[in-house]
Amino acid sequence: MSLQLIDVNKVFPNGGSPNHVLKGINLKVAKGELLCILGHSGCGKTTLLNIIAGFLGQTSGRVLMDGNEVTHIGTDRIMMFQEAALFPWLNVIDNIEFGLKVQGMKKAERRKKTLALIDMVNLKGSESFYVHQLSGGMKQRVALARALALDSEILLMDEPFAALDAFTKDKLRQELLRIWKACQKTILLVTHDVEEAILLADRIIIIASQPGVISREIHISVARDKRQESDQLKKLALSIKEEFCIVVDEREAVS
């Protein structure tokens, strides 16, 4: 299953001065690819994810899955939200099972599947906890398990680790990679963290802001376990950060 975006534009009316959030986005994502979408906050990267998920309509352009146009929200593209949008009235197991229950899967079958997922995201022993009893990291584990439960083709992740402390962040990134390899999913991960993108991605696209265009595309071929030590990638991180700063400086100079 491949995802393709053709000349996608998004304009918010914003009274008299229309806001061109995304401009001419062309993008092809291969099956099983881990793509990171990097950009400043407010650059339109979350909007892009929302358009792919079907939460938001594009102003013009097309979004295709295996050549078929997507226009609606669908279970083939599951979103994992920035702040865990877990249901606070359900416990861990019922949250993860929610999608399966809605799909009409039999109780015994979905329980089996859910328990396997709980095992996968290392949540054993927390099955009956309610959301408010969980730490930030645990919440994101539940959100990941819930997103994985439906076996969607594509997993959309909107800054999933942004609110976590450094240790938990590190741990969850490693776990995401493990799960990604095991499940063979296509993942689109939005982030503003340069190191995170370099650590995780097969490919990074950088979105500049106002208007939001793809300003740079980077393939990363260094093996993931060698990325933290790679001088080449350290230089890359630096160059991306400099680029970000220049953009910010220019914008400040204009205003």
């Binding site: 998920a53 939460f55 929200i73 279970t75 593209r77 599951i78 979103m79 939200f81 702040e83 949008a85 249901f87 606070p88 009235w89 359900l90 929610f98 999608g99 229950k101 809605v102 799909q103 309610y130 959301v131 408010h132 009893q133 819930r146 439906l150």
Partner: protein, 265 residues
């Protein structure tokens, strides 16, 4: 271990309550004794005494006045409040769907809510006569608005991410309501129902005082006609006890459960 540690606190709470009410009753009896029996500044028919209230209670229990009144009143409140819940939930849910007139309707409902339910009785009597219908109308009209406004604001204030996530996982239409919208709005819905209950209970008693031939409110009025201040006091105490019991033990428990699951307590 922990239960033996917690116990004394519970008992202390309960003991304080018992002593408080015992003290209150003794004080009441003393005032009666002083002002009615000794100084004779008040007449015995214008001030109740705890002893006579107990006698009156036993008397109206034995001649079945209490049983009949309780049966009739509870039946009315169950039907009336039940009806108010059904109509209120539907009205509230509709209110969130009809965008065009929802805003002025909300204002109208809030305005009507400031009207004590008993002011609807003249309308009710013209429409339904001096019948059960009138009393049910007064109960329903008061609590329906609170319930509808609770449902409405509960649904409107749901975190939109819950709905997006639900739709993303394939929930549509009615499923979205039963699995996400109602549970997400439940704390506010229950608060509206609780307020609706107190309006319903007041509406019932007021309606019965003016337009019924049986029920707690009617027995209260009989007490006035017989100038039996002790009977009046008995009924007032019963009204308080039922109101508080439903409020604390039914709504209190439901609310407690709903809020503690969500970590809001």
């Amino acid at each position: 271990m922990s239960s033996t540690k917690e116990r004394p606190y519970l008992d202390k709470d309960l003991l304080t309550k018992i002593f408080f009410y015992m003290g209150l009753i003794i004080l009441w009896q003393l005032i009666y004794y002083l002002c009615v029996d000794i100084l004779q500044i008040w007449k015995f028919y214008s001030f109740p005494s705890p002893v006579k209230v107990v006698h009156s209670f036993i008397y109206i229990v034995q001649d079945h006045t209490m049983g009949v009144a309780l049966y009739v009143s509870l039946k009315r409140i169950i039907i009336g409040y039940g009806l108010a819940i059904v109509l209120g939930v539907v009205t509230g849910a509709l209110l969130t769907r009809i965008k065009l007139v929802a805003q002025p309707l909300r204002g109208l409902f809030l305005g009507l809510q400031t009207l004590p339910n008993i002011s609807w009785l003249p309308f009710a009597i013209l429409w339904f006569g001096l019948s059960e219908g009138s009393i049910l109308f007064v109960i329903v009209i008061g609590s329906l608005l609170s319930i509808a406004l609770g449902v409405d604001s509960g649904i409107r204030n749901i975190n939109p991410l819950y709905i997006q996530a639900g739709k993303n996982m394939g929930a549509t239409g009615l499923e979205l309501y039963t699995n996400i919208i109602i549970p997400a709005a439940l704390p506010t819905i229950i608060a509206g129902m609780k307020q609706g209950w107190s309006f319903a209970w007041r509406g019932l008693i007021a309606g019965e005082m003016l337009a019924a031939s049986t029920g707690l409110g009617q027995v209260l009025m009989t007490g006035r006609e017989l100038a039996d201040i002790n009977q009046i006091t008995v009924i007032m105490i019963v009204i308080i006890i039922i109101g508080v019991t439903v409020n604390n033990y039914i709504f209190g428990r439901i609310e407690n459960k709903v809020l503690s699951v969500r970590g809001l307590l």
